[in-house]
């Protein structure tokens, strides 16, 4: 019985000793979470910078917004709820990146579409250029510009221009 009490006492002592360490770690995690979520919004002070990067000396807006996020996390609100809260308060201009829904999807998808379309175009060009038969020298001009005219224009350009 005495042994069991001693073990319990030791466990309680360890728990008490480790509590501040655990709470510091939790605080650090909270702070990281605030910074992580804060990085997804703009500071509304007019600096046009991400909330966690606002560099105005003594900016009241960014600290108030970060505090708001921190308090919401303390209340156990999810990231989605915090996002809704900030959008309701500041409007869609608060987003640091467009949401991946509705019209904003255009912003996200367009670069990929450009790249895909461009790649298809480049492959098509390569395919066409490879298939194109080698023309005789000086015959590559369009039908309405004769090879002679093109050759004459080239000779004129060579004659009249110097590097």
């Amino acid at each position: 019985m005495i042994k069991a009490r001693r073990i319990l006492g030791a466990l309680l002592f360890c728990a008490t000793a480790l509590a501040p360490v655990a709470s510091v770690r939790l605080l650090a995690q909270d702070s990281d979470r605030v910074r992580q979520i804060g990085g997804k919004f703009m500071c509304m002070c007019g600096c046009n910078q991400v909330l966690t990067q606002c560099n105005h000396v003594g900016c009241q807006t960014s600290s108030a917004m970060l505090k708001e996020i921190s308090q919401a996390l303390d209340r156990g609100q999810s990231e989605t709820a915090i996002t809704q809260m900030l959008v309701q308060e500041y409007g869609t201009a608060v987003y640091a990146e467009p949401p991946k829904s509705g019209f904003s999807l255009v912003a996200w998808t367009m670069p990929t579409i450009y790249l895909l379309l461009g790649t298809v175009l480049v492959i098509f060009i390569i395919y066409r250029w490879r298939k194109r038969a080698m023309p005789a020298p000086g015959t590559a001009a369009a039908p309405n510009v004769s090879p002679e005219l093109l050759a004459r224009a080239r000779a004129q350009a060579e004659r009249e221009t110097e590097d």
């Binding site: 990085g39 997804k40 703009m42 007019g46 600096c47 046009n48 910078q49 991400v50 990067q53 606002c54 560099n55 000396v57 003594g58 409007g91 869609t92 201009a93 608060v94 987003y95 640091a96 990146e97 467009p98 949401p99 509705g102 019209f103 904003s104 255009v106 912003a107 996200w108 367009m110 670069p111 450009y114 790249l115 461009g118 790649t119 175009l121 480049v122 060009i125 390569i126 250029w129 490879r130 194109r132 038969a133 080698m134 023309p135 590559a140 001009a141 369009a142 309405n144 510009v145 093109l150 224009a153 080239r154 004129q156 350009a157 060579e158 009249e160 221009t161 110097e162 590097d163």
Partner: protein, 686 residues
């Protein structure tokens, strides 16, 4: 002097008008006197713009506070150094400065080609004069920097007045970088007018595509070099002054400078296709046009207020003028192209998909996609407001997510492109060229992973940097080995010799190496750390291996501002390494303040300390400390890029000089007779 400046600007506009109209008449009539007089008018325009600019500088230096622009951007206590820089600190002066830089280019072209290219130059002169007319119209009638202060008296007569002192220069601009950053950036923007003028002139004059490329290569590279330098100096200014710990925030003004840089870079690569193979003539003409349009569009974006930007000091309602000019320029280019496109038909074809040509096509694709992605991201808030009624911001996270993969793809192509031969690369050549670089890339990635760098993009970036660096070193090694065998010179001398014999190719490699360094620096951003703390005197703050002890706080009085300075002792692994002095400056004019960041910079990392202000109770300093790895690589890479561009601009040394030093004369003579020396050394990759 203000009247003198105004008059000079007005006369400049008249002269530019004559250069434009007279130039068109000269083209139509081919009258030698008209051609000469139009050219002289172009030169006179430049001279008059110089006079107007110098007169505004004189007004600043003599504290003439009867001129509104001087009042708004200067004060008596401002140093002469910054009084000169005040010229481009506001809308009016910066547009005059724009005209001034453009005039330097125009004058250089008119003088350099005064006895050359007789048929083409009138067209070039007309295009350049057209651009000058637009900016001179703005300088004269829309945003004149010579407006004087006046009050209407009791009799209704306007009396000129002078203020005792000015409002002072924006504190953010009172840093050395800010004095050299805008001239470089503007030199880039204005410089792209010259290749644009030659491209349009060649199209109008129906010159087959190659010639204007040869004529404008150096001008394009000069403009590109200035643009690069301007962007990097701007980034360094943001890093050293704005105090948020970063150098690039994807602000619309930053994006505007990046757009022509991206399309200009694409042009500098695709132009080789035209020179070597006669391909992509239409594409190159439109790339130059696009680069010029993007310069104008960027200026419109940053000065019209159409998108919100942290660079708010130069916004006004002159956007419509830029839109009008852009529309006219696009219309002229489209008409010229439609009329004369038959002269731009390509002559060659592609022999293999595994070739230098293909790599250039993909390089152009990635650069252009990045350009469009940045442009659409910058304009998205405007579009979202049009279509949905609510403005959606697009900030750093979006641009990073979109552009980092594109940047890595581009880095990969930077390594691959130079190793592929023109027309066709054999499998044996692929194995020989890609073997070692690929091994080094894998080793680089593994080393980074082992060192604890776990960010996927950064690890890929380091691997690709190793790959590209290896390809560049291999190229120098192989070339220098050939020179060494023939001349017996040392490795260093052989590399120099090799470079001077083909400055363009090896200068290009140096530029690529500079870009590798920049990418290493950018990849380091994934491992940035920061900590912010209220610090009473005597307390310490810890970050990475550093401890910063706040020893004391002092004040220093300067003519233009009072600074509150934190005095920190920096300890690394408990050993003192240096003192740092971050400060907050309160400027006497306009109740403005600013920060002065203190940076302890090493090749490995930057310790970046900001005095962010006082705590809410007003008693304790708040200190924000960042630990930014590898940032120095960015600035060092920028220097290498500029050096590489300068090397590429140098005239190539005649091959005969190298051959003269050869030990085995007979085989060399035989070789020289068989093929050109540059072909011998370039192994088909030039």
């Amino acid at each position: 002097m203000d009247v003198f400046g105004s008059f000079a600007l007005l006369l400049a506009l008249i002269c530019a008008g004559y250069a434009f109209v007279g130039g068109i008449a000269a083209i139509l009539t081919r009258h030698p006197l008209l051609i000469k007089s139009a050219r002289q008018a172009g030169i006179a325009t430049c001279g008059l713009i110089f006079l107007a600019t110098f007169s505004l500088v004189y007004l600043f230096l003599t504290d003439n506070f009867s001129v509104a622009y001087v009042v708004e951007h200067s004060n008596r206590d401002l140093s002469d150094f910054f009084k000169v820089a005040a010229l481009w600190s506001g809308q009016e002066g910066s547009l005059l400065f724009w005209s001034f830089l453009l005039s330097i280019y125009v004058l250089s072209v008119l003088i350099a080609y005064r006895n050359k290219n007789g048929e083409l130059m009138p067209y070039v002169g007309v295009v350049m004069a057209g651009v000058q007319i637009f900016f001179l119209t703005l300088n004269n009638f829309v945003v004149s920097p010579f407006k004087v202060l006046g009050v209407t008296g009791a009799s209704g007569v306007l009396n000129l007045v002078a203020r005792a002192d000015g409002n002072g220069l924006n504190p953010l601009l009172q840093y050395p970088e800010m004095v050299i950053h805008p001239p470089n950036l503007y030199s880039g923007y204005t410089g792209f007018t010259i290749p644009f003028a030659f491209a349009l002139a060649a199209l109008l004059a129906r010159y087959p595509g190659e010639k204007w490329i040869h004529l404008t290569r150096r001008w394009t590279m000069i403009a590109w070099c200035f643009q690069t330098l301007g962007i990097l100096l701007g980034a360094h200014w943001a890093y050293a002054v704005l105090g948020w710990g970063g150098y690039w925030a994807w602000d619309p003004v930053e994006n505007a400078s990046l757009l022509p840089w991206l399309s200009g870079t694409a042009f500098l690569h695709s132009v080789m296709m035209q020179e070597k193979r006669g391909m992509m003539k239409v594409w190159n003409v439109w790339l130059v046009f696009t680069t010029f349009f993007l310069c104008i569009l960027g200026t419109f974006l940053t000065r019209s207020g159409v998108v919100s930007s942290v660079h708010a000091f130069a916004q006004s309602s002159i956007g419509n003028w830029f839109v009008g000019f852009l529309m006219i320029a696009i219309a002229v280019c489209v008409i010229a192209y439609v009329k004369n496109r038959d002269y731009l038909k390509s002559e060659n074809q592609l022999d293999s998909i595994v070739s230098r040509e293909s790599s250039f096509l993909f390089n152009n694709l990635v650069l252009l996609v990045a350009c469009i992605a940045v442009l659409s991201g910058t304009l998205f808030p405007v579009f979202s407001e049009w279509f949905t009624g609510s403005k959606i911001s697009v900030g750093t996270p979006f641009f990073n997510k979109v552009n980092i993969p594109l940047g890595l793809l581009l880095l990969f192509l930077t390594g691959v492109g130079p190793l592929l031969a023109w027309r066709k690369t054999s499998p044996e050549s692929l194995r020989r060229n890609f073997g070692w670089p690929s091994v080094l890339a894998v080793i680089g990635a593994a080393a980074m992973y082992a060192l604890g760098y776990r960010d996927a993009y950064s690890v890929v970036c380091f691997a690709l940097c190793a790959f590209v660096a290896a390809t560049i070193v291999l190229e120098f090694y192989r070339g220098a080995r050939v020179v060494r065998v023939r001349s017996g010179a040392s490795w260093v001398a052989s590399c120099v010799d090799l470079t001077m014999r083909n400055t363009r190719r090896y200068g290009g490699y140096i530029v690529h190496f500079g870009m590798v360094l920049i990418f290493i620096g950018l990849a380091g951003a994934a491992f940035n750390k920061d900590v912010q703390k209220e610090m009473p005197i005597g307390s310490t703050i810890h970050i990475g291996p550093y401890d910063l002890l706040l020893q004391s706080v002092d004040q220093k009085q300067e003519p233009n501002y009072t600074a509150e300075r934190m005095i920190f002792e920096v300890l690394k692994n408990n050993k003192p390494v240096m003192m740092l002095y971050p400060e907050k400056r309160d400027f006497h004019t306009g109740q403005q303040n600013g920060t002065m960041v203190a940076i302890y910079s090493t090749l490995r990392e930057d310790l970046y300390v900001v005095y962010a202000g006082l705590s809410p109770d007003g008693n304790t300093p708040v200190i924000h400390v960042f630990l930014n790895p590898l940032v120095k690589f960015i600035w060092f890479g920028g220097v290498v890029v500029v050096m590489g561009t300068i090397v590429a601009l140098l005239r190539e040394r005649k091959a005969v000089l190298v051959l003269a030093g050869a030990k085995q004369e007979a085989p060399v003579k035989q070789l020289a007779g068989a093929m050109s020396p540059s072909v011998t050394l370039s192994e088909g990759h030039d």
